[in-house]
């Protein structure tokens, strides 16, 4: 299992948060930062906390093809994350163009467009 938390939580973090995240870690539960890049971020939390995944917010992905700045930000986040040995997930990828731009930038994972509902089989 993975828990998704937001940057804001880590920013006001008291030492209690570190302990709670470590408890999850000990149980084999990983941590993911949701909506990365949209909150009040202080990148120092990336070294202070044991984080496994960054999810790039869909606002960066939406205009990827048209907005060079968004592409530059995505590329920079991907490089930074991989150097820190974090996995990156792109949220809100809807077009083939977005997919190929992200793949060229080194992105390996994206969230899907469709959702599945588990079928009860009791």
């Amino acid at each position: 299992m993975v828990i998704e938390i937001t940057e804001g939580l880590l920013l006001d973090a008291e030492s209690g948060i570190v302990g709670k995240l470590l408890e999850f870690r000990d149980a084999g539960i990983q941590a993911s930062i949701d909506d990365f890049g949209t909150g009040y971020s202080a990148l120092s939390y990336l070294k202070k906390f044991d984080i496994d995944f960054l999810k790039i917010d869909q606002s960066f992905v939406r205009n990827l093809a048209a907005d060079f700045n968004d592409l530059a930000l995505c590329e920079a986040i991907i490089v930074m994350a991989h150097k820190l040995e974090l996995k990156v997930i792109a949220e809100g990828v809807e077009t083939e163009e977005q997919r190929s731009l992200l793949a060229a930038a080194g992105m390996r994972l994206r969230s899907g467009v469709f959702v599945l509902q588990a079928v009860a089989c009791r």
Partner: protein
């Protein structure tokens, strides 16, 4: 204004009964590997299947659940239910599968004994990574 306040109170009251009445559903959004199209991860997303209003999205009720503290109970349920589903999917389809659940900052508040409860649930559900040799 008054109408808005009344609607809000009504929703809070209905939210209180929703868990017991099994009105929450979890949808799983796959996370896809760009190169291969493989799905080894999914995100659990909650929806409220309201008996009269139909499906209610989390943006409409999670803030109320956070304000009232109900998010702790709802969050525990999402975690428990996702862990149960993960165990099933791992056994049936894909041993590598991971499910992620959103955890509200409110759930991290001081009073919350997070992990013990959730971790026990997780271990009971048998969805721990260690058991599969990772």
């Amino acid at each position: 204004m008054q109408h808005h306040a009344q609607a809000r109170l009504k929703m809070i009251n209905e939210l209180r009964g929703a868990l017991a009445a099994s009105q929450f559903r979890i949808y799983y959004q796959p996370i896809v590997e760009l190169a291969t199209g493989r799905i080894n991860k999914a995100e659990a997303l909650i929806r409220w299947q309201h008996p009269k209003l139909g499906i209610i999205n989390p943006v409409q009720f999670i803030p109320l659940a956070e304000e009232t503290g109900m998010i702790v109970e709802i969050g525990d349920w999402v975690f428990k239910e996702s862990a149960r589903q993960l165990k099933l999917w791992r056994a049936l389809h894909n041993i590598e599968l991971q499910i992620s659940v959103n955890v509200s900052p409110v759930q991290f508040s001081d009073a919350w004994r997070p992990a013990q409860e959730m971790v026990h649930v997780f271990e009971r559900a048998g969805a721990g990574r260690k058991k599969h040799g990772h």
